[in-house]
């Protein structure tokens, strides 16, 4: 009885159900589209686990998602909602890319400089919103949405500047100099048979551990959580709520900015003009939700989402639209969002049965 109750109480249980339900609904749409779910999901699995190098690609896809997931999860835990991770990711990537193209420095300086600048850019982008919230009482969700689009058009503007734009290169920037790239040494990449293998995943895991320590073990985490849960109570206890909100948003923004840097300096090596929002920030919301807002959980949910994105990109081979991944993930978010009520119901049910 006790064991059953603890299962029904755990986040993982509901998350797994939500994921299963997402796949079932995805399968329904595949059937409607006249595609065998077995073939499509088979291809999905094969594209993830079929060869060792596919797994490395999953790690590459997962790295930026773990960062944006951490960004959102950290904001959830500290009582703000960073729906602006998207914009912070974009300005982070934009900053890393610009500095990676424009500066010519030895790698030991160039890489850290680009990364720190990207984190700072994401932090500033988020702090502006924080200041609007703290000083003018403007709800962060609204200003984040606005700043996402400002970042979007800013990035497209910069990509088209003459110093950044690749001549005759279509709709992309020049390539980032090798001295700014986060790639593994060439020999290692060859051995792994994966051209874009990079340090991003190691940075992501390290960031997750650091964020976990901050939230769970430090007085800073205590302070930020207190403000997040009950800003009035925190104020009463002498905690400066405004400063805490800004700290929380700053850290959250920096994480998303780092995600942008990892994406540009690690995987892509250049910035492309966007047609629509890239979605790393919004996918970060999913990663945070699937990971139950736990930093360590975000590592696993980031890997899951990375695998889905990478595997999904191969679906066109079997003539299945890769957008089925969006449908599955949308359903997963929706089901996790509504799972709270089931938890309440099961808790009541379990109690009765226990008697």
């Amino acid at each position: 009885m006790n064991k059953k109750k603890s299962i029904l109480d755990s986040n993982v249980f509901y998350t797994l159900i939500a994921i299963a339900a997402g796949f079932i609904i995805g399968a329904v749409f595949l059937l409607i589209a006249g595609i065998s779910p077995a073939v499509a999901y088979g291809k999905l699995l094969n594209s993830i686990f079929g060869k060792p190098k596919y797994l490395f690609w999953t790690l590459i896809y997962a790295s930026p998602l773990i960062f944006t997931g951490l960004s959102v999860a950290f904001s959830f835990r500290t009582g703000v909602f960073n729906i602006g991770a998207e914009g912070q990711f974009v300005v982070g990537g934009l900053t890393a890319c610009s500095l990676g193209i424009l500066l010519d420095l030895p790698a030991v300086i160039h890489v850290p400089l680009c990364i720190i600048a990207a984190a700072a850019a994401g932090m500033i982008w988020s702090l502006i919103v924080g200041l609007l919230k703290v000083k003018r009482g403007i709800h962060e969700v609204l200003s984040f949405i606005m700043f996402n689009w400002i970042a979007f058009y800013l990035s497209n503007y910069v990509v088209n500047l003459a110093v950044i734009h690749k001549e005759g290169g279509g709709e992309a920037s020049k390539d980032v100099l090798d001295s700014a790239r986060l790639l593994f040494p060439e020999g290692v990449r060859k051995a792994l048979d994966c051209s874009a293998a990079n340090w991003g995943i190691i940075m992501a895991v390290a960031a997750a551990i650091i964020i976990w320590i901050i939230i769970e073990k430090t007085t800073l985490g205590y302070k930020l959580k207190a403000v997040g849960f009950n800003s009035n109570g925190a104020l009463y206890a002498g905690i400066n709520a405004d400063r805490s909100v800004l700290t929380a948003l700053g850290i959250s923004g920096a994480l998303a900015g780092l995600g942008g840097a990892v994406q540009i300096l690690g995987m892509s090596g250049r910035l492309s003009q966007f047609a629509g929002q890239e979605g790393f920030g919004f996918e970060g919301i999913t990663v945070a939700l699937i990971g139950s807002s736990s930093p360590i959980g975000c590592i696993f949910s980031g890997l899951f989402y990375g695998a889905m994105k990478y595997g999904g990109s191969k679906l066109s081979i079997v003539k299945a639209p890769s957008e089925v991944v969006d449908i599955i993930m949308g359903c997963v978010i929706l089901f996790i969002a509504i799972s709270q009520i089931f938890r309440v119901l099961f808790a009541r049910f379990g109690k009765k049965e226990g008697k």
Partner: protein, 514 residues
């Protein structure tokens, strides 16, 4: 107050039989009975949490009873929504007013039963009807004023008119006097008199004995969800009622040893401050509190008490004035600075200010000290020290259930939440303790506990400032009572021989003897 009974015993209008209402495992109402006659004022007496409100929410269709029957005019009814109850003539005035602040008085009154002309709401008809009703029962309201701009007393009249507009024959008033002055309460009594004279029945939910003896015909007592008995009010006295409510004899007196107040701890001079609407609410307030005394601040809600406490605890910036604690300047400091200077406080709203409900009890117990040794070292929390601290305090202050150190504070009952706050604030052992409505919503046992610790602080030669909207509490605890009205102290009387009538007069703006 001359009480005239309009009760017609030959006509039973409401009968609740064996009502049971369960929430999960918790039985809020356990076989409750109630009979109300035409023209009767029927009081329901019980402690906080006894099940009074649940019972009335069943009667007004908000809750469905788990079992039991309801008869209206001797016909059995089954309500599936509040609308059914309204349609049959039962209207409830909730303790927390159910008004839409940005709507006008008239729009609030007609909400849900708007008269229409074609598709359009007929505001003229509505206005006329509202004015007609308000004249008939002697309730002055301005139909075009927005509810957010009118006084609490008028809001209550709007609530009553709302119910009458729907043609209610029976009105349920849930703790209607909670935030009224003694004078406003008298006005309400007159309204009740007018209503019953017109043949309406009134059910009065309260835990104030005086109101029952002043205006009710009968009284039903419930305790811990159970029906105790129904009595005729003219056949019992207040002490008997109290004993039935609590289940044992109650001693309303608080034992205090004689003490002579010592040096001045808190001194406030000529304090001016604005409220949240940017209107000046403290208008040159002066106040002193000495060692070894409890100073009670008596007054009706909204006369500046809240703002005074906020200024003293650093939550609000004052415009001008002085405040010092044992000679140290504490004027317009941050919450942290005032706390460090020696002011601790039991806030009015324990869930909003006193606790982080999602935090564990052990984390709540270090709320002002989480950055200090032994709880923290070099920015890292020392979990063991935090736990040991909590175990000790939970034992000492009798917080239940035991072993709740790691449980979120939100899972505790109201009384135990208050114990956690008191444990924290009393352990701080500051020079001045400010307690704001420290017993609101607690049952008798918990109230005694809180009072004991306030008196203990005084006996330890600390200064205590007690702010309370319950005049009884102020009178039984204070060594000195200061009356606050319109942002100023308007009178001061020794606690020992304070007279309630006189205090009430001063609280409403009358001048007391200096």
């Amino acid at each position: 107050m001359g009480k005239v009974s309009h009760m017609d015993e030959s006509r039973v209008v409401i009968q609740m039989k064996d009502i049971v209402k369960k929430f999960g495992d918790f039985t809020a109402n356990d076989h409750i009975n109630l009979t109300v006659h035409k023209g009767e004022v029927h009081a329901i007496l019980g402690e906080n949490g006894a099940g009074k409100s649940t019972m009335m929410n069943v009667l007004c269709g908000l809750y469905k009873p788990t079992s039991g029957q309801i008869f209206i005019n001797e016909k059995e009814v089954h309500f599936s929504s509040p609308k059914d109850a309204i349609d049959i003539g039962i209207g409830m005035v909730h303790q927390h007013f159910m008004l839409i602040p940005p709507f006008t008085v008239a729009d609030n009154i007609i909400l849900g039963v708007e008269p229409v002309k074609g598709l359009v709401i007929d505001h003229n008809t509505a206005r006329e009807k509202v004015l007609e009703l308000s004249e008939r029962y002697g309730m002055k309201v301005d139909p075009d004023a927005k509810v957010e701009d009118i006084s609490v007393g008028m809001q209550q009249r709007v609530e009553i008119l709302k119910v009458l507009y729907r043609g209610a024959d029976t009105l349920i008033l849930d703790e209607p006097t909670a935030s009224l002055t003694p004078q406003e309460i008298e006005g309400l009594m007159e309204i009740i008199e007018n209503l019953t004279a017109d043949g309406k029945s009134v059910i009065l939910i309260t835990h104030k004995l005086k109101e029952i003896t002043a205006c009710s015909d009968t009284c039903t007592i419930i305790r811990q969800g159970k029906y105790i008995r129904t009595v005729r009010v003219d056949e019992v006295n207040e002490n008997e009622l109290a004993a039935m409510m609590v289940g044992r004899d109650v001693n309303f007196k608080v034992d205090k040893k004689e003490m002579t107040p010592g040096e001045v701890v808190l001194e406030v001079k000529n304090l001016h401050a604005k409220d949240y609407r940017d209107v000046e609410i403290l208008k040159g307030l002066n106040l002193t509190v000495r060692r070894g005394e409890i100073v009670g601040l008596a007054g009706v809600d909204g006369n500046g008490q809240t703002e005074l406490v906020e200024v003293l605890t650093g939550l609000r910036k004052a415009d001008s004035g002085e405040a010092s604690l044992l000679g140290k300047d504490v004027f317009n400091k941050t919450p942290k600075e005032t706390f460090d200077s020696g002011i601790s406080s039991i806030p009015a709203d324990r869930q909003k200010h006193g606790l982080i409900l999602e935090f564990s009890n052990e984390d709540n117990l270090i709320l002002q000290h989480f950055e200090e040794e032994p709880f923290a070292k070099k920015h890292m929390l020392n979990r063991k020290a935090v736990r040991d601290h909590a175990v000790e305090l939970i034992e000492k202050f009798d917080v239940r259930p035991r072993g709740c150190e790691a449980a979120p504070a939100g899972t505790l009952s109201g009384g135990n939440q208050q114990k956690v706050i008191i444990a924290r604030e009393v352990t701080n052992d500051k020079e001045l303790l400010i307690a704001v409505n420290p017993t609101r919503g607690l049952d008798v046992g918990a109230i005694e506990f809180v009072h004991k610790y306030l008196v203990e602080q005084r006996n330890k030669n600390r200064a205590v400032l007690l702010v309370s909207f319950e005049l009884d509490e102020i009178m039984s605890l204070s060594d000195r009572i200061e009356v606050i009205f319109d942002g100023q102290i308007t009178g001061s009387v020794p606690g020992k021989d304070a007279d309630e009538k006189e205090l009430g007069f001063m609280m409403a703006g009358g001048k007391g003897h200096e």
